[in-house]
């Protein structure tokens, strides 16, 4: 089944994508809360420590809001010098098109060294979210990430993970050690005392570093607003073609999405609280078109951020399992 051309016309096209701008530029922004300044300094500290200690660090750039904050902080940590490491994006092949455009524009504007990797083998074999279930995430996200890190020999990878996202993340260290197969052993993490990160690794071992460990979702949004950090427009409400599936609103981003019997995309004002592959990420109905409106909705919400990530809840303790296998 293919998409109705009338609906397709409403799919946001590349020409419509504009960098996010704060609407009320004249209104003075509130001062940065002290706790947020402290989190900012902590993140810069982690960037510098890892850059100083590891031979080939890389920033895992997933284009979402956390990645945008991560990149902003990394640039601050080394300014006026350029970033001393490249960015790596793992392309699943089912990324929102607006995200890919935003990624390329961001890299171009800041002169960043962007590396892109996808699991070509799995893609050639036709692995897709609709047909392969959780194997899709394992192959296109976890396996592809490991391939990408090995491809360029990266020994340290910065990720935007936060401890408040999910229960197993709450257990993770800021500097998280992985064996040669990128596996996490949650039962045997290194002690992490003060800020004396022990960056000594043996040959083949690697680390993931999480500068945003202590940030909450509200902190991220507040910081985005106060620092004027550009975001993918998908985070803001706009009429988008959606289908309702198992209680979740899925945006039909391109014609590859097979529609079920009786499903017909309809236009709804929605936005995303978190961004992943489009078929696996649920949108929420929303009227929020600015960051303060998003924060206001967030403060009123009673659901967790990752409740919109279908890939996280497909099995008990599935995040922990994925992390143990090498997901970041």
């Amino acid at each position: 089944m293919s998409l109705d051309s009338a609906v397709l016309a409403h799919v946001p096209a590349s020409a419509k994508v504009v960098p996010f701008r704060e609407p009320a530029a004249h209104a003075p922004r509130p001062a940065m809360p002290r706790s947020l300044r402290a989190l900012e300094a902590e993140a810069m500290h982690v960037f510098r420590e890892v850059a100083a200690e590891f031979e080939r660090p890389v920033l895992l750039y997933s284009i979402g809001k956390d990645s945008s904050v991560l990149l902003h902080l990394a640039r601050k940590a080394f300014a006026p010098a350029p970033l001393p490491f490249p960015l790596l994006h793992i392309e699943s092949g089912w990324d929102f098109r607006e995200m890919i455009e935003f990624r390329d524009r961001t890299a171009r504007e800041h002169g960043l060294d962007l590396r892109v990797h996808h699991n070509a083998e799995a893609r050639a074999a036709g692995v897709a979210p609709f047909t392969h279930g959780s194997a899709y995430a394992d192959l296109m996200l976890t396996a592809a990430l490991k391939q990408g890190l090995d491809r360029w020999g990266f020994d340290a990878a910065f990720g935007g993970g936060r401890r408040d996202e999910e229960k197993s993340r709450a257990k993770e260290r800021i500097l998280s050690f992985r064996d040669a197969q990128h596996r996490w052993d949650p039962r045997n993490q290194r002690p992490e005392l003060w800020r004396h990160y022990n960056g000594r690794i043996s040959r083949g071992q690697k680390v993931r570093a999480f500068p945003l460990s202590n940030w909450t979702e509200a902190d991220i949004w507040t910081y985005i607003h106060l620092e004027g950090i550009p975001l993918v427009p998908l985070y803001f409400a706009n009429p988008r073609p959606v289908v309702e599936r198992d209680g979740a609103l899925i945006v039909v981003d391109d014609e590859r999405m097979p529609l079920r019997e009786g499903e017909r995309p309809r236009l709804e004002r929605v936005r995303f609280r978190t961004l992943g592959c489009y078929p696996l990420t649920a949108a929420t109905p929303s009227e929020a078109t600015t960051v303060p409106e998003v924060i206001a909705e967030l403060l009123a919400s009673r659901e967790s951020e990752r409740s919109g990530r279908l890939v996280d809840s497909d099995q008990v303790a599935s995040m922990e399992r994925k992390k143990a296998e090498g997901y970041f």
């Binding site: 009320a24 209104a27 509130p30 001062a31 809360p33 002290r34 706790s35 300044r37 402290a38 900012e40 300094a41 810069m44 500290h45 510098r48 420590e49 100083a52 601050k76 940590a77 080394f78 300014a79 006026p80 010098a81 401890r163 408040d164 999910e166 229960k167 197993s168 993340r169 709450a170 257990k171 949650p186 039962r187 002690p191 005392l193 003060w194 800020r195 004396h196 022990n198 000594r200 043996s202 460990s213 202590n214 507040t222 607003h225 106060l226 929020a288 600015t290 960051v291 303060p292 409106e293 924060i295 206001a296 403060l299 919400s301 009673r302 659901e303 008990v316 303790a317 922990e320 399992r321």
Partner: protein
């Protein structure tokens, strides 16, 4: 817009809140995870889908029948839920109307003490949880002790499971009295007590009607009233973390200010190198600024083209940190293999890795009563005080004054694992700042046209140590060197006359001898020392204290031969039972495995032995060849 107004209220609200970093600790099964789950649930900090997931988990793993087991809101690892225990620290973030909390839930099992210490290192207050039906456990005291060592001064003792003891005030009072008495050994702390039942939420967020005899605040009210301010050091410390050199025009020193303030125009010194310069610019997260303060991540440029590397500490000239290679520190040991004197270790101070070793263990803390006990080693999860010696000088402070530059981690040189955490208590060498005026040991020795060395003669009584030592002393004197013979009997009559011959006292005797030898080597002398040094651990201690100047010489003769010579009649008396603990007779002797030189006194006479010693010192460059 409505969103704007709501956001503005939120941002102003955030601005007015302070942040308390809190840990919860206590023994296993006292209910920590339940308490935190309850705290989060009752402050409305848990999203509804997470509560639904925990409800599903409760039916499978819960310990509360069909009721929601609130511990499952926080125990995040599969194996934790299966075993119903907490393995690693979980960090939780929640707000009340008055303050923000970062709460680290730490494991109670002794096996996971390292994870508890991880959380304690950044905390300002601790909730110590007790089970009212079991009272104070040793593990709870261990946690209190580690938390206090790491700088936590405020304790809230939560006496949990009051429902299991019928909400009896007498039980609570007994536990309060016993805990107060046990904590009395911890210096400068405050303890508050609250009776509660976490499972049902009594006195957690809301006061309980079941305990009308308790008039104090509920746990959350107490936590809101604690002092959240972090200790702030007035003296500037900026450990250099990263040197940015994008091109030949810019050289920036990046790091986080850990104490005091830094201003453009300040004169600063980098330690331990001693390089001085002036601050030209300060880049901060908010762009270029005239000044910056503790907590800020900065990028500084200096007036001079100087070379300051990662791990140097920038300070003001008037208030520098200590610089040295020796210091005493409190240690939390986290490895299964014990901490022993002399073992080769790596240390990480603020951004600087240095090789070194423990010179000695000063004492171990007994966690059953928090008293200090003499000890030769520290085992897994032990807390104690040690003296350390490093291969290179570092800049450091006392932990009480500067947390960041007064703390370090100890790393295994082979496995790279973190073995322990240390907090500097005092510099063994006082406040030494590398200044041009300082006369170095090299300069002192150069003045005497010699290189300092400590020739340590070891071996059984009667093997010939003292005779060879005296002859070597004479030979060096005749060659125009300034040498000194450090004799065991002589020391025992003076410096060490308070010591007997029990194993610990013999070890202390050796330690003092090694310290004196090191001082003399510092003064530029050639030191000759003759001590039996019977145990491998003793010799490792000597090596750690003396350092690279040590020349270890085994004066070797079979026990039967020594006993035949018996110059002082000791063997005869020991065999007769008149002398106890005599090495080779009724005290152990472990011959050295790899001395720098072995002198076989069955084959060599005194002249031959001295000849061999001199040739060894010449061939290793410690002594100029005879003219």
């Amino acid at each position: 817009m409505a969103g704007d107004a709501a956001f503005r209220r939120y941002a102003e609200d955030q601005q007015s809140k302070d942040l308390l970093r809190l840990i919860t600790c206590g023994s296993v099964d006292d209910g920590k995870s339940t308490l935190i789950g309850r705290l989060l649930l009752d402050t409305g900090s848990v999203p509804e889908d997470v509560v639904r997931a925990a409800q599903r988990d409760s039916e499978r793993w819960g310990t509360n029948g069909d009721q929601l087991d609130v511990a499952l809101l926080v125990d995040g690892l599969q194996s934790e839920r299966e075993q119903g225990i907490t393995i690693d620290v979980a960090h939780r973030y929640f707000d009340t109307a008055r303050r923000k909390f970062i709460l680290a839930d730490t494991p109670g099992h002794e096996q996971y003490t390292r994870n508890m210490a991880t959380a304690a290192s950044t905390a300002t207050a601790a909730v110590l949880l007790l089970d009212a039906s079991r009272g104070l456990q040793p593990q709870t005291l261990r946690h209190a002790c580690i938390a206090r060592l790491m700088g936590v001064r405020q304790f809230v003792v939560a006496v949990n499971k009051m429902d299991l003891v019928g909400h009896d005030p007498a039980v609570f009072e007994r536990i309060v009295a016993a805990t107060r008495a046990a904590l009395a050994r911890l210096p400068a702390h405050q303890a508050h007590f609250v009776p509660m039942a976490a499972r049902s939420g009594e006195n957690v967020v809301r006061r309980s009607a079941a305990m009308p005899w308790y008039a104090g605040p509920a746990l959350l009210e107490l936590l809101e009233s604690l002092d959240a301010s972090e200790p702030e050091a007035p003296e500037l410390r900026l450990p250099v973390q990263y040197v940015a050199r994008p091109d030949e025009h810019f050289r920036g020193y990046a790091g986080t200010i850990t104490g005091g303030r830094l201003q453009v125009g300040d004169n600063v010194v980098a330690l331990p190198s001693g390089v001085r310069s002036r601050v030209v610019s300060i880049g901060t997260a908010q762009g270029e600024r005239e000044q910056a303060a503790a907590g800020e991540a900065v990028m500084v440029t200096l007036a001079d083209q100087v070379d300051i590397g990662r791990g140097q500490v920038l300070a003001h000239l008037a208030a520098p940190p200590s610089v040295g290679t020796r210091f005493e520190a409190e240690v939390v040991w986290m490895a299964p293999q014990p901490l022993v004197a002399g073992g080769s270790l790596e240390f990480k101070f603020a951004h600087r890795y240095v090789a070194g070793s423990a010179a000695r263990v000063v004492h171990r803390v007994d966690v059953t009563d928090l008293g200090n006990r003499p000890a030769a080693t520290l085992g897994l999860n032990d807390v104690g005080r040690c003296e350390f010696v490093l291969a290179e000088a570092v800049a450091f402070d006392s932990y009480d004054e500067h947390r960041a530059t007064g703390s370090f981690v100890i790393i295994d040189r082979v496995t790279r694992q973190t073995l322990g955490a240390g907090m500097v208590r005092s510099a063994s060498q006082g406040r030494l700042v590398a200044a041009p005026e300082q006369v170095t040991r090299t300069q002192r020795a150069a003045q005497k046209h010699q290189r300092p060395a400590v020739v340590w003669l070891e071996g059984l009584s009667g093997s010939g140590k003292s005779t060879i030592a005296a002859a070597l002393d004479r030979a060096l004197f005749e060659r125009g060197h300034h040498a000194y013979l450090l004799d065991g009997d002589g020391l025992r009559q003076g410096l060490n006359r308070d010591l007997g011959f029990a194993p610990a006292e013999r070890r202390e005797n050796l330690r003092r001898a090694a310290e004196v030898a090191r001082l003399m080597a510092d003064a530029g002398l050639l030191v000759i020392a003759a001590f039996i040094s019977p145990l491998r651990a003793d010799r490792e201690m000597v090596r750690a204290i003396v350092g690279p100047e040590l020349v270890e010489v085994h004066v070797d003769a079979p026990l039967a031969e020594c006993e035949r010579r018996d110059p002082k009649g000791h063997y005869r008396r020991a065999r007769a039972g008149a002398l106890r603990d005599f090495t080779g007779v009724d005290a152990p002797y472990e011959p050295p495995d790899s001395p720098d030189l072995r002198l076989d006194t069955l084959q060599l006479d005194v002249t031959g032995a001295v000849e061999r010693l001199l040739r060894h010192l010449e061939s290793t460059g410690r002594l100029a060849a005879a003219r």
